[in-house]
């Protein structure tokens, strides 16, 4: 998965194409994009459905009731709160742990670089269910009850490599002589880092953190293995699906979606301003 940070400059890096338009391909692309968005539209729409029963899948009419009674299901609310706080903690911790790795990989040649690379690669390439199952095995053997903190621990573990790689990609485009220049101009290592490396790194760190947040809040598989009786939003939705997902879920999904839009939009604007 890629980070939601889209550098707008990407579009400008190339002279305008003079190739003939091919409407068929454009139409096709739009169709695929529509296909990708269809379930989201369904979700948003059914958040406004005036349904009386627990089963929310036939359109009954428009209502805002569910927005007003968003928090009427206490367990759902606490699941959402769990998801949000877990994602926040995970984003912070994984960024703190992953950024230095990305920095080291991007800037230094050192013994162990290869194995660090390998570790990052393995952690990303390992199937989620195996990661979840492995952690569960560890907790079973150690007799650790699963709950909120085991979820945090698990999420941080699978997020670290994503941050490292995002930061490293950012480092790779960075000219190391800049920092050397700062040092030569009399800056100490810390000052050079603060004034040169850090600002250059920040967009990478920010998108790494956002990526963690998104990965964590959406995770079902690893969470379901390690959550114990802590319930997160995706877990609640999955278990509610057997009796019918209440419209509040659609509303919360919509709000998370809109929140994501705003944050990603702000990020794009922010990096656009920086890029100019």
């Amino acid at each position: 998965m890629s980070s939601p940070t889209l550098s707008p400059a990407a579009g400008r890096s190339r002279p305008a194409r003079r190739a003939r338009r091919r409407p068929l391909l454009s139409l096709y692309t739009l169709l695929v994009l529509a296909w990708l968005l269809l379930p989201i539209a369904v979700m948003v729409l059914f958040g406004f459905n005036d349904t009386a029963s627990k089963v929310n899948f036939t359109w009954q009419g428009f209502t805002l009731t569910w927005y007003r009674h968003l928090f009427a299901i206490p367990n759902l609310t606490s699941a959402l709160v769990n998801s949000l706080t877990i994602a926040l903690v995970v984003a912070v911790v994984a960024t703190l742990l992953g950024t230095p790795i990305g920095l080291a990989l991007g800037r230094y040649r050192f013994r162990g670089r290869g194995s660090t690379d390998l570790l990052m690669f393995a952690a990303i390439a390992a199937p989620e269910i195996a990661l979840g199952a492995a952690l569960l095995s560890l907790f079973i053997v150690l007799g650790v009850p699963r709950g909120y903190w085991t979820v945090v621990v698990a999420h941080v573990a699978f997020c670290i490599p994503y941050v490292a790689i995002t930061v490293r990609a950012r480092m790779a485009g960075h000219d190391p002589t800049l920092e050397e220049a700062a040092r030569d101009l009399g800056a100490g290592p810390w000052t050079a880092f603060r004034l040169v490396t850090l600002p250059m790194l920040l967009p990478g760190v920010a998108s790494g953190a956002l990526l963690c947040f998104a990965l964590s809040i959406d995770d079902y598989v690893i969470t379901s293995f390690n959550a114990g009786r802590t319930v997160t939003f995706p877990l609640w939705v999955y278990s509610a699906s057997r009796t019918g997902v209440p419209p509040q879920v659609n509303v919360m999904g919509t709000l998370i979606f809109v929140g994501g839009l705003i944050i990603a939009g702000a990020n794009v604007l922010f990096s656009r301003r920086r890029a100019v």
Binding site: S13, S53, G143
Partner: protein
Amino acid sequence: MPQYSTPFVPRPRTLPPAGPSRRGLLRAAFGAAALAPLAACSVPGARVHVPTGQAEIARAVSGFWAGRKRSGKLDFVNYTQYIDVDPADQSRHPTLAAFTRESGIEVTYSELIDDSASWFGKIQPEFASGQGIGYDLMVVGGDSYLTKYIQLGYLAPLDHSRLPHFARYGGAAFKNSSFDPGNVYTVPWQSGMTGIGYDPALVGRKITSWQDLLDPRLRGRVGMWNDAVQMGNVALLAVGVDPETSTPADWRKAAAWLRRQRDAGMVRSYSTATYQSSLQRGDLAASLVYSGDVFQANQSGSKLEFVIPDEGGLLWTDNLCIPSTAAHPVDALTYMDYAYRPEVAARISETVQFVCPVPDAQRIVARDAAAATGRRRSVLDALSTSPLVFPTTSDEAKLRHLRVLDEEEEKQWNALFEPIYQA
């Protein structure tokens, strides 16, 4: 998307030249030494001695309850949507509020249980680590997991001297079950029947027998479950065996019946997660269902029918029990007894619409119906006369109980029935 191109970074050569170096060997030795304890880690078992016989049980009861006092708090955990709610505000539960008003016990109520298996998996480590699970009262299905709880000593033996309402109002059909003879650890919370739910418009005739689920006209439109306990017991009924007294030979016959159904392409999907919505949408014509599912679906506009097939249906029971680690067991016991007052049981039934273990509640529901108006009245009227909630004696005669399995039997059972829905 970074807009710069990445200079090619050659893979650094970190490995020493070929051949094991001294350092390499040392490292390997270190590694192995560090890993050895990991490999040796085992998962301890926790079987305890389960008291048997009147005297021993009585000792266990007095041992557990001696010196316990009411504390004014109660943490109650339940399956989802399994207690009464205030129609105006779904987060309120009138019977719990009334209980607090009357007894002064504050109730923290949560609905976190999806099914026995996953719940057991979730709380077992907390039991095993010896700390409390944070609940004083929980609802546990009457299946092999309940047996596990008992064998592991996770449940408190109940002091029946403090459960007068259970003794007086608890329906005879619900007492003294095979998984907990004498109700030493549990009392029923709600019961339910497993039978066939179908849409008469799609099926085009009456369904009366389990064999109807082999009817070629329903090919590809039958819903079954990915639940070994229910599937196995249902199939035993289908082959004409009472599950409670069934033998492994009968199980094989039952599994063969399910396999025949499967191989004939009858089944659309084996899923406890989707059968309800699929049945209501018409994606399924007939499905294995719980009695309450059909009643609830019909309340929201469906026209489904529930049938207890001629060969028999299953009567299962979800039970209230008190974890042995409970911090407020006396309060839990107080609530247990409270739940057996007919008027309380009636209120709960009016919402959850499963089989009520308190027969006297029927009278109260009928009275409430008479007093209600409009839509609510029709719901309550339907409820008070519904054989799905208060089974008739002829229905009761057709109902059978789940087979209780020990560890070894459960392995055999799962090995027979799981492959059918996990093909």
